[in-house]
Subunit: 243 residues, 2 copies
Amino acid sequence: MKDISRSSKIPLYYQLYEILYDQIQEGIWQPEDMLPTESELVERYNLSRATVRQAFEMLVNQGLVYRRQGRGTFVSRPAFEQNLNRIISFWEDMKQRGLKPGTIVLSSELIQAPDDVLESLEIEPGQELASLVRLRLADDEPLSMEHSLLVHDLCPGVLDQDYANNSLRKMLADQYNIRIVSAKQTIRAVPATKQLAELLDIDVASPLLHIARISYAETGTPIEYLRINLRGDRYAFHTELRE
Amino acid sequence: MKDISRSSKIPLYYQLYEILYDQIQEGIWQPEDMLPTESELVERYNLSRATVRQAFEMLVNQGLVYRRQGRGTFVSRPAFEQNLNRIISFWEDMKQRGLKPGTIVLSSELIQAPDDVLESLEIEPGQELASLVRLRLADDEPLSMEHSLLVHDLCPGVLDQDYANNSLRKMLADQYNIRIVSAKQTIRAVPATKQLAELLDIDVASPLLHIARISYAETGTPIEYLRINLRGDRYAFHTELRE
DNA sequence: TAGTGGTCTAGACCACAAA
DNA sequence: TTGTGGTCTAGACCACTAA
């Protein structure tokens, strides 16, 4: 069982949040199951109650659990997939959709920042970016191409990792104490270029869902410029609207 | 100046939240203005710091303010267009984007409900639907094709109106007292059919953003099944994500 | 260096639900 | 009555920002 590291730079409440989050994702608790009580977690992990509550609060804000005074904390039923308002990893997304995720790293290198991302990432011309290109598979079939550009000064050496098996977000959190907490994105429908068509195993000019996303750390600092091209025949967004 | 009541049943943090919320709404602080610090509020209202932080947290969660370690708490700028979480009319959308809206009604008729919408609209086979097809223009150029299917029993005679100049939502609210308050939608990238290509003045198989949306009244009753096909070269969604 | 918000502790009392 | 989460206090130390 995972534990909490006192020496880590990652806040205790966040470590607990990750533990609980993972356990819910792994299905250790099913919808409507009651989670451990606050006092159980206080004892189990040797934390104060306020710290435990802070972790729970994150889960509540995400709609993953709900709390009832006098009763306990329970796993929510999965809502209509809400993959447009929340930042989730590719792996989580595939799991929610019942598909088997796969990743092939196509390239991983340091580059000079191209002009078109300078403003988005709030950096100067010539600054170095870590460029990571990954082909994503769902049930062993190509699904999408992801191109990440990271401000290398903020996470030096970030490319010395194996991103076929590790989440970039997790690496940023664990190794550099950078937590991506918000993002802005634009979604378009675009035709597949010849290169994309080959990689994704579709016809040239087939419709793709194209996402351009800027991700920010808690401080509001831009961390990543991400472009995703998703096969239009294999992927759809689901979202709920309010008045 | 409003104050906090210790005898009230309303939690102290919530009372403070309301005070700050109102003051922001009243424009006492403008975007980018710094709010009082935690310790100022602790003194001013005789609260503990944790209570003050709880009030701030609510404001942060709503996106009304943001906080920066070492600097302070500031009023947020009005957000990046949030056209994926809110139901807005075509008119409002065009206005926000600075484009001139236009509408051409292509067809308006009663039809038997096709099988593929029965479940979505929670109706029986053979039930009558009002079908309304509109071409939408932006700056006098074709932008999208919208096909609405309405449960006719809930709004009889709804098609006896001029939808070139009137909003369907407004008509439902004014004439039938039906307010659409929530919706679920799916967004895909699809190739333009020959018919759509002609209407939208694009090449066959050009990428389109396709939306399928079910809209619900306050009671949770499905009202409308809407399909929109938007030109990929002229339209993009913008949205913000959170952890 | 002074002042900000971020994290964390160790208590306390309360409201609510279930047995 | 017992155990749950909800509210609140009074501290402490840390990380970051700006002067």
